[in-house]
């Protein structure tokens, strides 16, 4: 059974709220292992007010955060979303991220995340971000799985 989450369902699993919920969806979820995040880049995103005036370019650091949110949900995924053991993934490391193409309003980012290694509560994912068939960014990041109040 393929697991997928809509934007509304993601809010049940992410502690983030506006304006820092950066995912519009997550599909092909293999809990703890892999998944594909969706991020629609809109000109109405407040980040474009400053990055850059008159020349909107989606910031690389926001792409890393979007990937981290996807990895956090994948790494802590449980079918029992309301359970007492609900966990949160905290961003622990960011390694070798490279940005190869500009991402602009109108693009849809597909964020492919796959577990590379894990030790204890730490999980490192390799992430490839694409727009259409083009790879726009790639790199690795690790999350630390911890417990916390999601509200």
């Amino acid at each position: 059974m393929e697991r997928a989450l809509s934007a509304t369902e993601l809010l049940q699993r992410l502690p983030h709220r506006h304006p820092f919920v950066l995912l519009d969806g997550l599909h092909s979820i293999d809990p703890g292992v892999s998944g594909v995040g969706i991020k629609n880049i809109s000109i109405s995103d407040p980040v474009f007010a400053g990055h850059f005036p008159g020349r909107p370019i989606y910031p690389g650091v926001m792409m890393i955060e979007a990937a981290a949110q996807a990895c956090g949900v994948i790494g802590t995924f449980t079918d029992d979303v309301d359970g007492d053991q609900a966990s949160i993934g905290y961003l622990a490391t960011v390694k070798r991220f490279a940005f190869k193409e500009l991402v602009v309003p109108g693009d849809q980012l597909q964020i492919q995340c796959r577990r590379h290694v894990s030790v204890g509560s730490l999980i490192e994912f390799k992430c490839t971000l694409t727009v259409g068939r083009k790879t726009v960014a790639e790199g690795s990041l690790a999350i630390s799985v911890g417990h916390g109040d999601k509200q």
């Binding site: 490391t93 290694v117 030790v119 204890g120 730490l122």
Partner: protein
């Protein structure tokens, strides 16, 4: 010890593997330490090389990429020292070779 004995060659392979693991860890973690000055029984964490839990992820990656062995959660005891990592790598390689 004569250089052509099996015992000598085994000791030589072990010596070289220890050196390779030291170089891999020191280089991979970009530590400001001469690999030849790291004792093979020196603790890697805490007061030894002062690595932390985030470094374990990198060591797992390095051991897989450089030596073809994967450390699982149950085998975390191998992070204790270079000798423990090499013991593990030798045993895993032997198991893979069906010995």
């Amino acid at each position: 010890m004569p250089e052509n004995t099996e015992q000598y060659q085994r000791a030589q392979r072990r010596f070289e593997l220890n050196a390779a693991v030291r170089r891999s860890i020191i280089g991979g973690l970009d530590l400001p330490v001469d690999p030849d000055l790291v004792d093979d029984d020196q603790p890697l964490f805490g007061r030894g090389l002062e690595l932390d839990s985030l470094d374990t992820l990198e060591i797992v990656s390095l051991m897989e990429e450089d030596f073809g062995v994967y450390i699982t959660d149950e085998q975390r005891f191998v992070f204790g020292s270079v000798n423990k990592l090499v013991d593990f790598a030798e045993a895993a390689q032997l198991a893979d070779n069906g010995a």
